[in-house]
Amino acid sequence: MKVRVTVNGRERVDDVEPRLLLVHYLRELCGLRAANVGCDTTSCGACTVHVDGEAVKSCTILAVQADGSSVETVESLAGADGALHPVQRAFHEHHALQCGFCTPGMVMAAVDLLRENPRPSEAEVRTGIVGNICRCTGYHNIVAAILAAARGGERALPVQSADEGRPA
């Protein structure tokens, strides 16, 4: 079947089988491999992209359902000059990624959250990213990064990292 999708601002027409998942359409046909598949039950969010301006799990959308829609992936966030989006910059500053597998989906979920709620509380951030699983970071720095991106850089999570003393 023919599908016409605008991906990261560029329209494309492809011939796909109905059961092709949007995540595989993006990874295999569009060559955009940042979004990952991490589960079978729409649980982990590693595949999160934006469809028509809203965060969705692309593993649970058929490419044919996206016909006529516009899709944005993390590959479109940074500026043409390579300048990082504020959320990407905050993730880097706050060490909000380790192995990186959940990161593209987490970033897109965060961008979507902040669009709808520009000044979330810590609890709202945690609930806001409940659809994105991370196994590495314990979420602490992810939450700190999102709060920082929301408040334009200032660190809002009350992290204590007291040093008991340097070695002699």
Partner: protein, 277 residues
């Protein structure tokens, strides 16, 4: 992880959707947001040969007052229910419940029509609608049917819909002035409820205490007869059939049903008709 192969048709109107269902019968399934059906297809627990996509029927996405009811288009997404000012004013239980469904991404896709048609007795919207006492409006080749919510849910994942029918609307009473409450208990915040209780205007419905969402009849009668919240809630699990699943055994479920009913009634905003203080 990958569904079995199927043919795909996109319906531009309700009539087209119904025609496709008539043509293919049991072999066809409707997909709206797809977040109930596609997960099952990916695990190959469901394998329709034809998928009829009604996701673009934007004419079915609305929430509006009609007399003393609120009409909600079947294609209203959970995120639409959360942000609807009409619902916030007229049926505040619904936006509150919808906000608990899954996660943000799922709420951007899942629809109320899809959720009701999926008929998972643990799901949030079916129990809320059961408590509201609404009507499910269904379209088929023979025209429109209106089913009382009580008659709509028939069994686990089974409704009174014929294979050639689709849900087009849900109608619920306006109850902006009634006390309402919702208590759900789950293991993780975003899990399906082990037990959930919705109450509005003296009606109490339970999720995951049987094969369909059920009304806590004994509790409601007790309240109407002037019992205290505590006395009435203690009857919440009467005539229910909770099963054991991986997460909870029947006796714990019964306990949760009674506990959550008491808490839902206590938290009901405004006055619950009939309850002694």
């Amino acid at each position: 992880m990958i569904p079995a192969a199927f043919d795909y048709r996109r319906a531009e109107t309700v009539e087209e959707a119904l025609a496709a269902l008539s043509e293919h019968g049991d072999e066809a399934k409707l997909v709206a947001g797809g977040h109930s059906l596609l997960p099952m297809m990916k695990l190959r627990l469901a394998f329709p040969s034809v998928l009829v996509d009604v996701g673009r029927l934007s004419a079915l996405s609305y929430q509006r007052v009609e007399g003393d009811e609120v009409a909600i288009g079947a294609l209203s997404r959970h995120s639409d229910l959360v942000s609807s000012t009409v619902l916030a004013r007229e049926v505040p239980l619904l936006p509150h419940v919808a906000a608990h469904i899954g996660d943000r991404q799922i709420r951007h896709r899942g629809t109320i029509g899809g959720s009701l048609a999926h008929a998972d007795p643990a799901a949030d919207l079916p129990v809320a609608v059961r408590a509201l006492g609404g009507t499910v409006v269904v379209q088929g080749p023979a025209g429109e049917r209106r089913l009382d919510v009580a008659d709509f849910f028939v069994d686990y994942f089974e409704t009174a819909l014929a294979p050639d029918e689709m849900v087009v609307e849900v109608r619920v009473p306006r109850c902006g002035g009634d006390g309402w409450g919702y208590q759900r208990f789950s293991r993780r915040a975003h899990d399906w409820a082990i037990v959930a209780v919705a109450t509005v205007g003296g009606r109490v419905a339970l999720a995951n205490m049987g094969r369909v969402p059920v009304r806590a009849g004994a509790t409601e009668r007790a309240l109407a007869a002037g019992a205290t919240v505590g006395e009435a809630a203690a009857l919440a699990d009467r005539d229910t059939e909770p099963t054991a699943d991986g997460h909870a055994e029947p006796d714990y479920r019964r306990h949760l049903a009674r506990l959550l009913t008491r808490r839902a009634l206590e938290s009901a905003h405004g006055r619950v008709p009939g309850a002694a203080r």
